[in-house]
């Protein structure tokens, strides 16, 4: 089985049942993507698959051998990471890599003009950021600090 992660192609001998998340965490030592629920209900496992944000816990690695995966480890120094640091957009840190990957994917979606259920005129209004980031749970409740972090990263 082949997996291309952060620009590096890996050849692995994996059980076909292995999810992309478990391949990253258990076999490639890339533990930045987190397992919070393992069922697509928390967003902690968010990575970018060919640039799109996805829940890696619900993807079978075997089905994504031709894709390019970007994990938090591949984003070193990204403006969203700096925004989270500057605005204290986290506490325990467990949801944080997923939040950051999700925000990176989300900002690209905004650039492409994708709508959200918030349906604001400004796609980066507070309400829009909150709605667009609602697929990432944070039990510490660091949400209010993420909004300015993300807005800053968007250059706003």
């Amino acid at each position: 089985m082949r997996l291309t992660v952060n620009g590096t192609e890996h050849v692995l001998d994996l059980d076909p049942r292995t999810t992309l998340l478990d391949a990253l965490r258990e076999h490639l030592g890339l533990t930045g993507a987190k397992k919070g629920c393992d069922h697509g209900q928390c967003g902690a496992c968010t990575v970018l698959l060919d640039g799109r944000r996805v829940n890696s816990c619900l993807l079978l690695a075997i089905a994504h051998q031709d894709s390019h995966v970007t994990t938090i480890e591949g984003l070193d120094g990204h403006p969203v990471q700096r925004g989270f640091l500057e605005h204290d957009g986290f506490q325990c840190g467990y949801c944080t890599p997923g939040q950051i990957c999700s925000a990176v994917g989300m900002l690209d979606e905004v650039d492409r003009g994708w709508p959200s259920a918030a349906a604001d005129d400004d796609p980066l209004s507070d309400a829009e950021i909150r709605e667009r980031m609602s697929g990432n749970l944070c039990r510490c409740g660091a949400y209010p600090h993420m909004v300015p972090a993300i807005r800053q990263a968007a250059g706003r």
């Binding site: 393992d38 909150r130 749970l137």
Partner: protein, 685 residues
């Protein structure tokens, strides 16, 4: 001696921040350990009965299937739930009754799913009722308060009062659900045991697990913890099972709880039924308060939540009574969840006060101020500091309370009914003995070491600030080591006492090093801490909520949530804000979203995942703010700090529930407030 700018109070950024945003911070399950095998817990599928046999698929690719029929004996400890795989008794659905170990996660999980269990199921009981014949009064409630108190004659006060309130509020089972599941990697080297474990108390976990396995050297590594909110305060079954499996297989073993298991074996907040009766004069002066709380515990272990204890010191009244009543059920053991006692207790008390204000036609803030006590009403002990009234008054100004029309269902904006509500907040100020060590290093820096943990509270950063001030150096010259049981023993990260307890020891060590000029000092705070009074020490606050209720669907949104606190000296303005807001957001979840949905026939909370158990998402949190008074209290600890980790969830649910009443005229007395409870009572537009 040089004088430096004080570090304590400054909004220092989290020291471990760069590790967390880059994904480099390692949590328990993430340590690379050669040859690690995977353990998967088999939960009991029945709430009560006996496990008589376990039959594994002989063709399965497992290394071991452990159950009470083949597991090695373990020494008993205080917590019977840690006696895993030791007995045929099943005491709740979800109890670990077997463990499958395999080379891969995938193989272990499947083998556990198809494992054949022979079980003699028995009749079970899982519903908390106040009129159940099995209800009893425990001797004490967590962590050691008397279960009942009586002062004066509350019945006569109620019978002769101008105005009375007699209401019953209920709260459901709530589940901590930190984002990081409980997890352990266990490795034996001879009789030395290493545990990479997610917990709030590495020294405590090391001691407990050592006792269970009869070994002295247990090394618990807890560098980063993905939240706990009380559920990781003590060793949980995952730690024992991982160590057990590693012992049996001779391999390091990793056990990570699936999210579903986090609704059973790691504790939860008990459901409560609470009857609150208030007696008052026309002017709002309380003559009597009665708060009786019913909660549940398991067959295995008595955990009695201190639900009504908060009523003992909140408001003045000559006649008063509080009591706790417990029922044992075939359900998991409730344990600590953020502000055990205060969170559900203040929901009932502060909603009842709001109902009294309505009956009196009095502003709910004025009613609270009218009943401000001059000393602890039951103990008579003076408060070390209490600025509750200031929180209410200053908070009201900041929130914009004045001019509020007290009548419900008057404010309509578009599709929404708008209302505001207020509720008080309080949390006891505690400290536990801890030990810290500081070393002066040749490069001019100082290494502070203490077996504390940082669950996201900012502890690591705050301890650096405390040490810097005590050493009289800049924080950049202090290096901190925590999260390891081989460091000097620290108390649990719980009870909002971490900063006070650890900071006390760190202050002692650093001051001693500074004063004596020695290179290394270890300081044990036990004597100092034990000399302290335990009464009269509390943080206070006031929560204000503005909600809007959809006039069509009854959906509730919290437009504004504001907390004003008086919690002693704030050690780090940046991380403190996160603690307050996080507590308030969890309080919003308690008010509106969270509920373990019990199926009595199954004996289980059936919504046991994060799609079924709703915690607040980002879109739920609109305008939210926290502020605090500059409170000085030099009688509590050297930092003058009160705990802040839990007070945000105390009273914020009541403020929201009271605001829902103000918006709609509907009193919801069974949490959570959801549209199905509101819909039929919505005012006509």
């Amino acid at each position: 001696m040089t004088t430096t700018t004080k570090a304590v109070g400054a909004p220092l950024a989290r020291i471990e921040g760069p590790e967390k945003v880059s994904g480099r911070a390692r949590y328990a399950a993430e340590y690379p350990v050669d040859g690690v095998a995977h353990g998967w817990i088999v939960p009991s599928p029945v709430p009560r009965g006996r496990l008589t046999a376990v039959v594994a698929d002989p063709t399965g690719d497992t290394m071991a299937v452990l159950w009470h029929g083949n597991a090695p004996s373990l020494a008993a400890v205080d917590d019977p739930e840690l006696a895993v795989l030791q007995s045929d008794r099943i005491s709740y659905r979800g109890q670990p009754i077997a463990l499958v170990v395999a080379d891969t996660l995938e193989a272990a999980r499947r083998a556990a799913q198809v494992l054949h269990l022979e079980i003699e199921a028995e009749e079970h009981e899982t519903v908390l009722r106040a009129d159940h014949p099995g209800v009893y009064e425990p001797e004490t409630v967590n962590p050691g308060y008397p279960a009942a108190t009586v002062h004066g004659d509350v019945e006569t006060a109620l019978a002769t009062a101008d105005v009375t309130v007699d209401v019953t509020y209920s709260t459901p089972a709530l589940h901590n659900n930190p984002m990081e599941p409980h997890a352990t990697i266990a490795r034996w080297d001879g009789d030395d045991l290493t545990l990479y474990d997610s917990n709030q108390h590495p020294s405590g976990v090391a001691a407990t697990v050592g006792e269970i396995f009869g070994v002295d050297r247990v090394h618990v590594i807890t560098e980063h913890v993905g939240g706990g909110f009380g559920s990781k305060g003590t060793a949980r079954p995952n730690a024992v099972l991982a160590a057990l499996a590693a012992r049996v297989t001779g391999r390091p073993v990793k056990v990570v709880l699936p999210r579903q298991a986090m609704f059973s074996m790691v504790g939860h907040r008990t459901p409560t039924l609470q009857r609150v009766r208030l007696a008052a004069g026309r002017d709002g002066t309380l003559s009597g308060i009665d708060h009786q709380a019913y909660s549940q515990t398991s067959r295995l272990y008595e955990f009695a939540e201190q639900t009504a204890v908060v009523t003992r010191h909140m408001y003045a009244a000559p006649h008063r009574r509080t009591g706790h009543h417990l029922l044992r059920l075939d359900m998991p053991t409730p344990r600590w969840m953020r502000a055990p006692g205060e969170a559900p207790g203040m929901l009932a008390l502060e909603c009842a006060i709001d109902e009294l204000a309505e009956k009196l036609g009095m502003d709910p803030i004025e009613l609270r101020i009218r009943n401000e006590p001059s000393a602890e009403p039951e103990s008579g002990v003076a408060f070390t500091s209490r600025h509750y009234v200031e929180c209410l008054r200053r908070g009201a100004e900041r929130f914009g309370w004045s001019g509020r029309d007290p009548r419900p269902a008057r404010r309509r904006e578009g599709d929404w009914w708008i209302g505001t509500g207020v509720a008080g907040a309080t949390y006891p100020t505690m400290a536990q003995p801890s030990t810290a060590r500081v070393r002066a290093l040749p490069d001019g820096t100082f290494e502070v070491a203490i077996g504390a943990t940082d669950l996201g509270t900012g502890a690591r950063t705050i301890l650096v600030q405390i040490a810097a001030d005590a050493l009289d150096v800049a924080p950049e010259r202090v290096r901190i080591r925590i999260g390891d049981s081989t460091l000097p023993r620290a108390s649990v990260a719980g009870g909002s006492s971490g900063s006070a307890s650890w900071g006390w020891a760190v202050t002692g060590a650093c001051r001693s090093l500074r004063d004596t000029g020695r290179d290394e000092v270890t300081f044990d705070s036990t004597e100092l801490v034990q000399r302290q009074e335990t009464e009269g020490r509390h943080a206070y606050g006031a929560h204000f909520a503005e909600v809007r209720v959809d006039a069509v669907t009854g959906e509730v949104r919290v437009s504004r949530l504001f907390g004003m606190y008086a919690a002693g000296r704030i050690l780090n303005a940046r991380t403190a804000r996160g603690q307050f807001l996080g507590g308030m957001i969890m309080g919003m979840g308690m008010a509106l979203h969270e509920e373990g949905v019990l199926d009595p026939a199954m004996g289980e909370w059936v919504n046991h995942d994060l799609a079924g158990y709703h915690v607040p998402v980002h879109a739920d949190v609109e305008s939210i703010e926290a502020a605090w008074l500059d409170e000085t209290d030099d009688r509590i600890n050297p930092m003058g700090s009160k705990g802040i980790g839990e007070i945000g969830i105390v009273g914020s649910p009541a403020a929201i529930v009271n605001a829902v009443w103000h918006a709609t005229g509907i009193r919801i007395r069974d949490l959570p407030v959801r549209l199905d409870k509101i819909l039929d009572g919505l005012p006509a537009s």
